[in-house]
Amino acid sequence: MIKDTARRRSFVTGLVSAPYELWAVLFILVPLAFVAYYAFTDNDFRFTTDNITRFFTATSPVVNADGTLGQTHTYLLITWRSLKLAVISTVVCLLLGYPLAYFISRSSPRAQKTMMTLIMIPMWMNFLIRTYAWMTILWDKGILNHALGRLGLGPVHIIGTETAVVIGMVYDYLPYMILPVYSVMAKMDPKLLEAARDLGCAPTGVLRRVILPLSLPGVVNGVTMVLIPSISTFYISQKLGKGLFFLLGDAIEGQYTANNLHFAAAIAFILMVALLAAMAVMRRLTNKYTYGESAA
């Protein structure tokens, strides 16, 4: 009787997740296969590697520093720039978000709740409008320069520079760093820190030997959650970079708008493969590091 219900039950529950399984195959896996399919075909859907080669070999003219004309690898330059700006933004997010998450996790429960709610509020507002608001702050005749002018400081030119793009990325994605780091730190037992101190650990030692290793999973999550959107954004670079700094997201979006779906798919495919590889490496490194720490 019990066996019978169990069998009936497992049959029912097997059916219960079937719609999702079908959905996941149809709308998660099949679309990804289409990215690969488009990336490796031409407009008549014949197999070709031209789209991929184009990514690595296409060149465009540039003006060198000394005024002469030169050639540069268009998409390799874009990739390098995306990577550079995304890494800088992630590092800045970590440097700002990590201490903030720590301070929040050490305050009273009530203050913790309020501050975490405050951090989430901007996330609930449309990021296009928030990014646009930064334009009015950073603009040459904007609020920042008004304020600086009052203080007698010279106007600063930020909009249309890589700095502006980084500011936008840090602003938009900082909560993605704070939330996972905070959630790890809030679970950390304060007794561990006390024990380390009682056993004669200096404050820097407590940080390095107790807090940092324990919070590492949160940091890894935060880094992925900031790095991935910032490497693939296109709105921030369009607005705050005035479209002067093409990123990978801009390249994909540009090819999509120009209806070059096969090349857009090729760029997306390369980005996807690179991200998968990077994440595999990162996971391996953090595993090694955490195991090394616990063994020591």
Binding site: T5, R8, V12, T13, G14, L15, V16, S17, A18, P19, Y20, E21, W23, V25, F27, I28, P31, L32, F34, V35, Y37, L96, P99, L100, I104, K113, M115, T117, L118, I119, M120, I121, P122, W124, M125, N126, F127, L128, I129, R130, Y132, A133, T136, I137, K141, G142, Y171, L174, T224, I228, S232, Y235, G249, I252, Y256, L261, A265, A268, L271, L275
Partner: protein
């Protein structure tokens, strides 16, 4: 050290809220400028309520978010129940990996990948306009599903597996056991998942941008098209209204959340004293 950390925290919140304060202030600006404040007026709010095109996109966005959250909550909860009972470890970890894909993949790749499939399918079946409300809805359900599943799964793990078994031993059908015993236990996770799905759908721009056709505009896409030109404070007025709606919702959920957990605690205490 204490004061230094307080100053740092204060500066960080200033940074996080600076653009929002700017939005709030300039939505009341008399002039069209979004950087020089010339006087208080409600002009932009009046203009907003006269802008039928924008109001229509607000309605579209809400309709889409309600549909996407509804479908993904039902399907996602069912999926979580199924995944939790899955016998085959291999199948389970494969499904877990697939579920993670939309969360890890950059939005632009999720968007592009679905767009490519829809365009291809459209060509195959000969639709002139393959991108529409339905493709947008499919895309939104897809990126909402993992969040619902990940909210419900931990609740299933916390639940005592013998509870539904007991119900069935006492003569409940599996369906009734789920409905009367399991679902009430899962409800907090289901509700959080639904709220997450709803807000994600409301806020999404990138995936919608690639998967919607010309016929159906959502608010983020409308905003994107408007910010291509110079923005009038009308958009700021809209953002301000959204801000206060969110703030109210958060306050309500905080208040009710507290009373819920209090009720639960007192119920637990009662149970203990009875035992």
């Amino acid at each position: 050290m204490k004061t230094a950390s307080k100053i740092f925290t204060g500066l960080m919140f200033l940074f996080l809220f600076a653009p929002i304060v700017i939005l709030l202030v300039f939505s009341f600006n008399e002039a069209k400028s979004t950087s020089v404040f010339s006087g208080f007026s409600l002009r932009w709010y009046r203009e907003l309520f006269r802008d039928t095109e924008t109001l229509k996109t607000v309605r579209n966005t809400l309709v889409l978010a309600v549909c996407a959250a509804g479908v993904s909550t039902v399907m996602g909860t069912a999926a979580a129940v199924g995944i939790d009972r899955m016998r085959s470890k291999y199948l389970r970890s494969a499904l877990d990996t697939v579920t993670n894909i939309p969360m890890i993949n950059p939005d632009i790749i999720t968007g592009i990948s679905m767009m490519l499939m829809f365009v291809f399918a459209g060509r195959l079946f000969g639709f002139a306009n393959s991108l529409s409300f339905s493709t947008l809805l499919i895309a939104h359900i897809t990126f909402c599903l993992p969040y619902v599943i990940l909210q419900v799964l931990p609740k299933l793990r916390q639940m005592d597996a013998s509870l539904p078994e007991a119900a069935m031993d006492l003569g409940c059908t599996p369906w009734r056991a789920f409905w009367k015993v399991e679902l009430p236990e899962l409800l907090p996770g289901v509700v959080t998942g639904m709220i997450m799905a709803f807000t994600l759908s409301l806020d999404d721009f990138v995936i919608s941008y690639f998967t919607t056709g010309t016929g159906f505009q959502t608010l983020p896409i409308r905003i994107y098209n408007m910010t291509k030109k110079t923005v009038t404070p009308k958009m700021y007025a809209l953002a301000t209204i959204i801000f206060f709606v969110i703030l109210t919702l958060l306050l309500i959920s905080n208040l009710t959340g507290r009373s819920d957990s209090q009720a639960l605690n007192s119920a637990k205490r009662e149970k203990k004293t009875k035992n």
